[in-house]
């Protein structure tokens, strides 16, 4: 085991330069000496902070998908939709491919991502499930790029403006939930790094 602050040999993911970094401070983010890409993220001591954030994310994610996103009042009629129902509407219009894309990027990928991060952290916390750790980790990494809650949030706002021209639009619980989820996901992803996960796994699965 290296002592803290020992220079570590790192390779840049974007230019493959081999370099040594003395990485002592917890807030340090090491950058590639040649191209400036991030080669090492800051260390985090606490596993409880990402765990708490992941639990909250899971709860808010359920709210965001169960409650209506927006409601419209037109001549006394109220029309509202949830995100899963919007996907279903696409499917009913013979747009299976499009429905699948929206389903994956707004529901499946974020859902699986939150669930697998949560499982990973719970396993670490309870010092259990070491045999599944690597597989779960790879799942988290593979699915990370396909969740597009941030783009969806902007899409919701744009459609709100478009709909406001047609009728009175009332934002629903899910709209606020998606906004909160976006903030929580950002906090979650900055509360631990890949390196932390493996360091914790070494410390805890001894």
């Amino acid at each position: 085991m290296l002592y803290p602050g020992a220079p570590r040999l790192l390779a840049c993911p974007q230019c493959d330069l081999l370099q040594k970094h003395a990485h002592s401070a917890a807030t340090d983010r090491a950058r590639c000496r040649r191209c400036g890409a991030v080669v090492a993220l800051p260390r985090h001591a606490s596993i409880d902070r990402p765990l708490a954030l992941a639990v909250t994310c899971a709860q808010v994610f359920v709210l965001a998908n169960v409650f209506p996103l927006v409601s419209m009042n037109v001549h006394g009629d109220t029309i509202s939709t949830t995100m899963p129902r919007a996907v279903w509407a696409l499917y009913q219009h013979q747009m299976t491919g499009l429905a699948f894309l929206v389903l994956v990027t707004t529901l499946l990928a974020p859902g699986i991502q939150i669930a697998s991060i949560l499982t990973l952290l719970v396993c670490l916390r309870l010092r259990r499930g070491q045999q599944h750790f690597a597989r779960l980790f790879r799942l988290v990494q593979a699915i990370r790029d396909w969740g597009m809650i941030d783009v969806l949030m902007l899409g919701i706002l744009v459609s709100l403006v478009k709909l406001a021209a047609l009728a009175t639009v009332v934002p629903g619980v899910a709209l606020w939930s998606f906004a909160v989820l976006l903030v929580l996901l950002t906090l979650l992803s900055s509360s631990f790094s890949t390196r932390d996960l493996w360091r914790w796994s070494v410390e805890r699965y001894r």
Binding site: Q14, D16, I79, M95, R138, L154
Partner: protein, 206 residues
């Protein structure tokens, strides 16, 4: 020419999934000793895959922009909207910041991505020897903005779900949307297959 040592030159491979640096072992399938992911010195067939996805994206770019993505029926009549006419409608009826946003996400970003990826792929095939930092920045830009072009797809999804006011107005998706979504996904896959370390390999060999 100053001597720099790349990880590949030192017989090491960086695991792109868990950031572990491992010794290269020749063999059919080299797996990361820590997370078990398949490891490659460079992403497999990177230039060929990037090019293939790019060609597919360029071909679909034409129907994506010419075919209507949305059909609106109102009391005053019906109309088909393409990506571009959607922006123009926003400009006329809505506010111009919103039109600018949609123009950027749906027209500028896909076009920029296609051009940037073409430059990147050409520079690998033609073995450009100019300093790669500029092209690396281009690659980072593509990675950063790529996902935002799905904006219009989410707006369409919500409009289709909500604007079903039988007598007043209905919105239906049209095949152009599928072509547009395919362009976005194909360019995402293209960028993901690209290995920026190849830029430096040609540079170092010069």
């Amino acid at each position: 020419m100053n001597r720099v040592l790349s990880a590949a030159g030192a017989g090491l491979i960086l695991c792109l999934t868990c950031e572990q640096l491992a010794r290269y072992q020749p063999g059919p399938a080299h797996r990361c000793p820590r997370c078990g992911q398949l490891m490659h010195v460079r992403k497999p067939a990177s230039a060929a895959r990037t090019t293939a996805y790019l060609i597919a994206a360029v071909m679909l770019y034409i129907p994506a922009n010419l075919l209507p993505i949305m059909h609106t029926e109102t009391l005053v009549g019906s109309e088909d909207d393409t990506i571009m006419s959607g922006v123009i409608v926003l400009l006329k009826t809505g506010s111009w910041p919103l039109a600018a946003l949609v123009f950027f996400a749906s027209i500028m970003v896909p076009m920029l991505k296609l051009i940037a990826l073409t430059v990147l792929v050409l520079s690998i095939h033609r073995r450009w020897r100019s300093p790669p930092l500029g092209r690396l920045r281009l690659y980072r830009l593509v990675e950063l903005i790529g996902r935002w072009s799905l904006l219009d797809i989410y707006v369409l999804t919500l409009l289709v779900a909500l604007v079903q006011l039988h007598a007043l107005a209905t919105v239906e998706p049209r095949p152009g949307a599928l072509a547009f979504a395919a362009v976005v996904v194909l360019t995402l896959l293209s960028a993901r297959s690209f290995d920026p370390r190849l830029l430096w390999d040609t540079h170092e060999r010069a």
